[in-house]
């Protein structure tokens, strides 16, 4: 058959969507060792140094690792979701333009953005779940409450969505020529004000810092996961975490979609 004579295909959009998703999964799979090191090395080191080393040296109180682990799960979910999108989008739209072939696929631009979010959430969920056995290996055991599984699931999925929303916003609105200050200006503050290394109520003596951390949406993921995994430790009430988290997601995703449109179509 002469390929040029082939008829125009009315491909259903979901097939194109799946093909675009398949591309991301395929690329991740073929670069798995690199991806794993990008995603897991940082929380693993935090877990090891803060949870194991400092404890073994007597600088932290026994039980600190149980506070730390939910916080690091939150960190993994949010940061993985964010980093899956932020950098690649800045790079794609800014200079490699390699996303163009997908933007020219027979699918709406919004669906390409949705695919990005779905992929980022999937990767963040996979990374968070991978942290569980790693936590057992490093710490010996991790806190767990079966009865709180629904809250745990909500917070992990919510944290992944939050990360994806942050990534979509930053990746499409952060100026490509300023990418070098991304880490110092966005990443590091996000990392250390997200209540992942300390429960939020315990910050009461440091009132100003407590207020600051309340502005970081990651705080509510950390606290929500503490509510699910170590309910005995003082934490922000679970319903507050859920509501604030949903609010952030509800703002970030539409803004990110708008930003994506803005970059994809002039």
């Amino acid at each position: 058959m002469n390929p040029v004579d082939a008829p125009v295909r009315a491909t259903p959009p979901w097939r194109t969507f799946l093909a675009v998703l398949h591309r991301d999964v395929y690329v991740t799979w073929s670069e798995l060792p690199i991806v794993l090191s990008q995603v897991l090395l940082q929380p693993l080191f935090l877990l090891f140094v803060f949870g194991k080393v400092l404890g073994a040296l007597g600088y932290t109180r026994p039980g600190y690792e149980d506070l730390l682990f939910p916080g690091l799960l939150a960190l993994t979910a949010v940061v993985t979701g964010m980093m899956t999108l932020a950098f690649p989008l800045v790079r794609d739209f800014g200079w490699t333009k390699e996303i163009e072939d997908r933007l020219l696929a027979p699918i709406s631009t919004s669906m390409v953005a949705v695919e990005k979010v779905v992929f980022a959430v999937a990767r963040a969920l996979a990374a968070s779940l991978a942290m569980m056995p790693l936590g057992v290996v490093v710490l010996g055991s991790i806190p767990w409450e079966w009865r709180n599984l629904p809250l745990f699931t909500t917070m992990i999925v919510g944290g992944s969505l939050l990360g994806a929303g942050l990534g979509l916003v930053l990746g499409t609105l952060f100026p490509p020529e300023r990418i070098n200050i991304f880490f110092s200006l966005v990443f590091t503050p996000l990392l250390f004000t997200g209540a992942s290394q300390y429960p939020w109520p315990s910050l009461a003596p440091l009132r100003w810092f407590q207020v600051l951390t309340a502005l970081n949406p990651m705080t509510y993921v950390s606290e929500g996961l503490r509510a699910a995994m170590v309910p005995g430790v003082p934490h922000i009430p679970a319903w507050v975490c859920v509501v604030v988290l949903l609010g952030w997601i509800g703002v970030l995703l539409p803004v990110g979609m708008w930003g994506f449109h803005r970059r994809a179509v002039d």
């Binding site: 002469n2 390929p3 040029v4 004579d5 082939a6 125009v8 295909r9 009315a10 491909t11 259903p12 959009p13 097939r15 194109t16 093909a19 675009v20 398949h22 591309r23 395929y26 690329v27 073929s30 670069e31 490699t96 333009k97 390699e98 163009e100 072939d101 997908r102 933007l103 020219l104 696929a105 027979p106 699918i107 709406s108 631009t109 994809a264 179509v265 002039d266």
Partner: protein, 321 residues
């Protein structure tokens, strides 16, 4: 019409044309003329501020998804997916466009072969030369059998052999019924490939015709230049007699400033230029006899015919930008 956010002028402003099915249409213009923006609008990547655009009968603003099924774009700079091999670039492109899974690989092999890239199928795009990346992008574009192929300055930066290869392939595509719209600022390319050429500048379409007709549209540029000895005491009489010859549009006595071009610097002669309405060579004999009748001799004859470049410069001006 298209005005970008924050821009003070319209990038494209009054650029209307229709490309026939199966045609190779060349969009010619200087840098920044609005060629790429025009392609952007037609390929659904730029939203026009006003106006309409249709590709293969589909309104690109109202139904961009349907338009994307029928068109394919090869941009100026490589936008190959650098995480995928050359072959996978083609295979995934086919998947995005719903080509059945069993057909994707054979099709990819066929197009890579056609564009001389079969032996680089497993290479990553990063290691390809500019010309190779270009060929892979065209091969990729053809994977979903588009009706219309858009090429943005396809041969800019290619070596002559690569350019001829590409021209050859594009002509083959045209024979297979693919409509091709290419932008270029290479006159030779437009003359060699395009059935019709549109000249754009400042976002406006200045002229639109076949390359031949565009070249003919500048009658003043098909000219015969005569060097005459000995120098004329007064040229007006001779110019009037030359101007009376049939086929001469107008005559011109070349000023001193123009002498440096073709003369050896001696001031022992005069030069006159006859602008022809038809083919200039047929004026040589009658003009020579008029000159001889006035007691002078023609010592040098130069013919100049317009190129697309002359048309281009005439329309867009010579200012560098």
């Amino acid at each position: 019409m298209k005005r970008y956010r924050g821009a003070t002028a319209n990038a494209v402003d009054g650029c209307s044309f229709a490309v026939e099915e199966g045609e190779v249409f060349g969009l010619l213009g200087p840098n920044g003329a609005g060629k790429t923006t025009t392609i952007g609008v037609l390929t659904t990547r730029v939203l026009p501020t006003s106006g309409t655009a249709t590709v293969a009968g589909v309104d690109v603003v109202a139904d961009p998804v349907a338009a994307r099924r029928r068109l394919a774009v090869v941009p100026q700079r490589s936008n190959l997916d650098r995480s995928l091999s050359v072959r996978d670039n083609l295979v995934f492109h086919a998947a995005y466009h719903g080509v059945p899974a069993r057909d994707r690989r054979p099709l990819a092999e066929e197009w890579l072969g056609q564009f001389g890239m079969a032996d680089r199928a497993t290479a990553k795009p990063d290691v390809l030369s500019g010309g190779q990346a270009q060929r892979v992008m065209i091969a990729r574009a053809l994977m979903h059998a588009p009706d219309v192929l858009f090429l943005d300055e396809p041969t800019t930066g290619l070596d002559p052999a690569a350019r001829l290869f590409l021209w050859d392939r594009l002509r083959q595509l045209q024979h297979r019924g693919v409509t091709i719209l290419l932008t270029t600022h290479d006159m030779d390319e437009a003359a060699a490939l395009a059935t019709r050429v549109g000249i754009v500048d400042h976002g406006r379409l200045l002229a639109l015709d076949t390359p031949e007709a565009l070249m003919r549209s500048l009658p003043g540029l098909t000219a015969l230049e005569l060097t005459i000895e000995p120098p004329l005491a007064g040229v007006d009489g001779l110019l009037a007699r030359l101007g009376a010859l049939s086929g001469v549009a107008r005559t011109e006595h070349l000023p001193d400033a123009a002498r440096g071009e073709t003369t050896d610097g001696l001031r022992g002669h005069d030069r006159v230029r006859l602008y022809a309405t038809g083919p200039a060579p047929s004026l040589v004999a009658p003009a020579a006899s008029v000159v001889a009748g006035a007691g002078h001799t023609v010592t040098n004859v130069r013919l100049s015919s317009p190129t697309l470049e002359d048309v281009f410069l005439e329309l867009t001006g010579r200012t560098l930008r």
